[in-house]
Symmetry: C2
Subunit: 348 residues, 2 copies
Amino acid sequence: MATIQDVARLANVSVSSVSNVLNGRTERMRAETFARIEEAIEKLGYRPNQIARHLKTGNIPVLGLLVPSTSNPSFAHLAVAVEEVAQRRHNYRVLVCNTYRDQRLEAKMLDDLIGLGIRTVIVISSIGDERHIDAAINRGLAVVSYDSGISASRTPTHDHVLPDNTLAGRLAAEHLISHGHKRLAFAKPRGETISRRQKVEGFLAAIEAAGPGHSAQIIEVDAGSRFGDNELSKVGFDAARQIATMKERPSGVVAVNDMTAIGLMAGLRDSGLSIPDDVSVVGMDNIAVAEYVWPPLTTIATPVKEVAETMVEQALARARNPDLPPAEFSFPPVLVERQSVTRPRDSI
Amino acid sequence: MATIQDVARLANVSVSSVSNVLNGRTERMRAETFARIEEAIEKLGYRPNQIARHLKTGNIPVLGLLVPSTSNPSFAHLAVAVEEVAQRRHNYRVLVCNTYRDQRLEAKMLDDLIGLGIRTVIVISSIGDERHIDAAINRGLAVVSYDSGISASRTPTHDHVLPDNTLAGRLAAEHLISHGHKRLAFAKPRGETISRRQKVEGFLAAIEAAGPGHSAQIIEVDAGSRFGDNELSKVGFDAARQIATMKERPSGVVAVNDMTAIGLMAGLRDSGLSIPDDVSVVGMDNIAVAEYVWPPLTTIATPVKEVAETMVEQALARARNPDLPPAEFSFPPVLVERQSVTRPRDSI
DNA sequence: TTGAAAGCGCTAACAT
DNA sequence: ATGTTAGCGCTTTCAA
C-alpha cells in the first residue's frame, strides 16, 4: 500500500504538495508539479487512506444506517434508496446495522459507529425511548431518525423524518369503506411501536368518521422477538386463522405492512376463503413483490426516494453544522389500487 | 469525545497503562491501578477510537460485502446472514455495497474499501472477469468470492464459496421430469453470468439424461441493466408472455430465481393460464415470501446460514494469514417441494 | 509495575 | 510555489 510519502518521494516534492493536490488546492502549484504528482499517484496506484485523514479532519465518508432488519423488504428498499443517494450525490458509503428493534443492540451499535469515526447516522424506526440516541448525539453524532415520532413532551434533540402513518391508516380504512365494507379489522404483531400505533389510530379514526354501522377490531398476533425473514408473513398467516373462525367475520382487513398482508392472504386461502371476494385486503409499503402476488395487492405507498433523499441531505447538513435547529419532515403516503379489494359479498 | 489521554489524566497514570487495559494486558499492573483506570473509563464514557487504533494495527473490525443488489431478496437474505455471523461471532460490522453487477463500480468500491482501512471483503456474484479483484488482492485485501466460479484456466488467487448451481439446475429439471413433464423451459434475463450459465447447464443435462421425448428451451428476456427492485419479477412476467403464446407450450418452467418465478406465475395467470395445472413452475433460492405466494412456490434452496458462516470465517482467516492456500467450498442445494408443480395435463 | 516516546498516514498552519 | 512540522488517538517497544 503506497502512502503519501511514497508519492512525494517519487514525484520529488514534499508531502504537503501531494496533500494539496489530494484536496484540490492545485492552483497554488505549477502545472508541471501538478502533473508530476498526478503521474506518481497513477504509477503507484495510490489511494489516500481515509482513516488517517479522519484523524485530522474528524470526518470519514461513511453514513451509518440503523434499521430493524433488512430482511424485511420494506426496510431493504429504504436502505437501498439511502445508499443510492449517499453514494451518488456525496460519495459516501453506507454502513448498515440490523438492530432487530433491540434497544440495547441499538445503543451498542451507535457506540461502535462512533468508535469507527462515523459522525452521521440515520436511525430507522427505533422504539419510543430515544435516550440512547440523545446520548449518542451528546457524544458528537449527527442523527436523523425515521418513523420514530416525536415526543411532544420534550423539545426535539434531532431531526425527524416521518411517514404520515396516521394518514396511511386512514387511507386504507377509507378505501375499504368506500367499497362498502362495514366490518373492518387491522392485523398486526402484538407489541407497540410508534408507527403501528399511528397506523391503528388513523384506521380507527376513519371508521369512527364513517359513522354508525361500521365496526373495527384490532387483531394482534404474537411474533418472535427477533423478527426474522418470514415472521412478518407468519403474523399475517396466523391473523388469518383468527379471522377465519370469527362469528362476525370482517369483510375487509388492513395489514400493518405488505409482508403481513401477503401472509394474511395465504392464511385466508388456507382457510378456504377467497380474496377479495370473501375478504378484501389492504397492505402497507408497496414492496416490489406486492404487484406480482395473487391477487395483486392494494397497498399504501410511502415516497421512499424522497424520504431517503431528505434523510441523507439532512443528516449530512447536520454533520456539517451541528447547530442547525432540529427539523421535522412529514411525507404523505398514497393509495396504490390493485386487485385485493372489492365490494363485500353482503353489500347491496 | 474523551480520548485515551483524558482517561490517563483522570486516572493519574500514563497512556500506556490505559492502552494496556484496553488490550487486556491487565496482569502487568496492580489491581488498584487497574481499578482506577476502569473507573476513569467508566466516568468519561470513554470508547477507544478504532480508527486511530487502525493506524497502528492496520486492522479495522469491519467486513466489506459487495453484492449485486440488496433489493433482491435472495441477496438481502445472504447479507443479513453474513452480518449476523460477523457481528455475533467476531464483533465485526459489515459494510454492504450494491454493485449492480457493474464491474467499474465494483472496482471503485474495492478501492474505497481499501481507503477506509478495510482489509476483509466478501464479493458476491461478480461477473466472470475477476481482474479487478486480483488487483485488490495485490493491494492487500483478503477476499472470498461467492458464486463466481473459478476459471480453470488460471490458478485461483483467492477463496471461492460456490453454491452448486449445476446441481440446482439439475434438481429443478429432474423434479419436473419426475412429474411427467416432457416440454420444459428455463426462464432468465438475457446476459450471461457464471451462475446462470451453470444453472442452465444442469437443467439441460438433466433433460438430456431423461432421454428422447424430452425437450428444452431457454427463454431470455431483456432486463434493465441496473436491475432494480422489480426488474427480476418483470423478467418472469415477460417470459410468461412469451410462453403463453408459444405453439408448443412448455408444461414445466424453471426460473433462475424466486422473484423471477413469482413474476412468471403472475404473467401466466395474466395470460389466463393456471398454475400448476397449465404450467408447473420451479424457482430458485427459497426466499421468505416463496412460502406465502399463490401457489406456494416449489424451489431449490441453498444453505444460506452455512454459506455465510464459511465465507466470514474464511475471509477473516485469510486476513489473519494471507498465505493460506486458496480454497474452494461447494454447497449442494436442496429441493423444497410446495405446490407450484403437478403432473402435466396431457400426461397419461 | 509504570512511563516516555516513536510512529501509523495524513492535514494544515507556518516558514521559506 | 514548495517544504517543514506539529499533531490527530492509539499501540508498542524500550527504559526506568
